[in-house]
């Protein structure tokens, strides 16, 4: 895929916004690499997760479960439930990935919250496609490079507890999840789930309490009318929040 026509198809402001989101994700990626390796995982784990899974939240989640002593399968289950949210995004941007089979197979791997949001912001099919591919390719490169650099830096850090790095992991996740908590029912479900998870921690093997938090979904309520159409606007809003965070 040649980048130059993509750049020419898009408005200058869109290209700048994509660059800002890449910058924000580079910082998240570097923290992911550093936290994984300073927590005791070998360098190949964050690097392989970033190249093959390429979904920040689930990478943090899986590594978090493992670093807290949880089993590998609990880590996989947590990551998969998180990434199940990509399923509806895939249906929403399906038209963008129309075309030859190789393009569909390759483009699917680039599907993230960010690429979906940028594609949905564009009204014209040609621009939707350009925004999706430009954001996807740029993010994939930036994410993997920053994770590798962060992982190398993380290996140089000595006493991670003295530096408070164990607080950095929940701090990053909190900054990532806050925008989605503006919805009251989501907030209720999340608080119930968190209380259940913390209360269950003394009694269950590590990794399971977080999955048990899904009982909070009982409080998720029903979707409001027209929610799916509004969702696109919400996603665009979340990306805007990320841009503001960088400034």
């Amino acid at each position: 895929m040649n980048m130059r026509p993509l750049l020419r198809t898009l408005e200058r402001a869109t290209v700048r916004d994509i660059a800002l989101v890449c910058l924000a994700d580079a910082l998240v990626g570097a923290s992911f690499g550093a936290i994984s390796v300073s927590g005791g995982l070998p360098l190949w784990v964050p690097v392989a997760l970033s190249a093959l899974v390429f979904a920040g939240g689930s990478q943090f989640a899986a590594v978090g479960v493992v670093l807290s002593g949880g089993g590998a399968l609990a880590a996989v289950a947590t990551g998969l439930v998180l990434n199940a949210r990509l399923l509806p995004f895939g249906f929403t941007v399906a038209d963008v990935l129309d075309g030859p089979r190789w393009r569909r197979l390759l483009g699917a791997q680039l599907l993230t919250d960010e690429t979906a949001a940028f594609a949905l912001q564009q009204n014209e099919p040609r621009r939707r496609r350009a925004a999706y591919w430009l954001c996807g390719i740029a993010l994939y490169v930036v994410w993997n490079v920053s994770v590798l650099l962060g992982a190398i830096a993380g290996g140089l850090i000595g006493d991670t507890d003295a530096l408070g790095l164990d607080a950095a992991f929940p701090a990053v996740l909190l900054a990532l999840v806050l925008p989605s908590l503006s919805d009251r029912r989501t907030r209720t479900a999340a608080v119930v789930g968190a209380v259940v998870a913390v209360a269950a921690t003394p009694f269950l093997p590590a990794g399971l309490p977080v999955l048990l938090a899904l009982v909070g979904l009982l409080f998720a309520g029903r979707p409001e009318a027209g929610e799916s159409t509004r969702k696109a606007a919400d996603d665009a809003h979340a990306v805007n929040g990320e841009k503001e965070a960088v400034r």
Binding site: V45, A48, L49, L52, V53, G57, A61, A62, S68, G69, A72, V76, T78, G79, V81, L82, N83, A84, R85, L86, L87, G90, F91, A94, D95, L105, A108, A162, G164, L165, D166, A167, A168, P170, A171, L174, A175, V177, L178, L181, T186, A190, G193, V195, A197, T201, P209, V210, A213, L214, G216, L217, A220, R222, P223, E227, S228, K231, A245, R247
Partner: protein, 103 residues
Amino acid sequence: MMPLYAVLLLAVGTYAFRLAGPLLSGRLALSDRLRHLLAVAAAVLLVALVATGALTQGHGFAGWARPAGVLVAGVLALRRAPFPLVVIAGAATTALLRLCGVG
């Protein structure tokens, strides 16, 4: 430990979620109810990870220094502070409290 098979399982499962839409969109549609539940489930898991990661270590309490640092980070994130500041302030708070002898 995170073995290679776990990384591959997560990667293959995630790719399946990504590819389902482009492959099946002509033939089936997701209900609003399912879309809503999937979005809420992601937020629920992330918040549960924040809570357990901030408050617990193994099967017990993590001590006061770590949740205090996460709290500072949360307040800064709410006030839309830049991401690096959020993370560094959180870690620095925890580190300083430990330096002062808070567990």
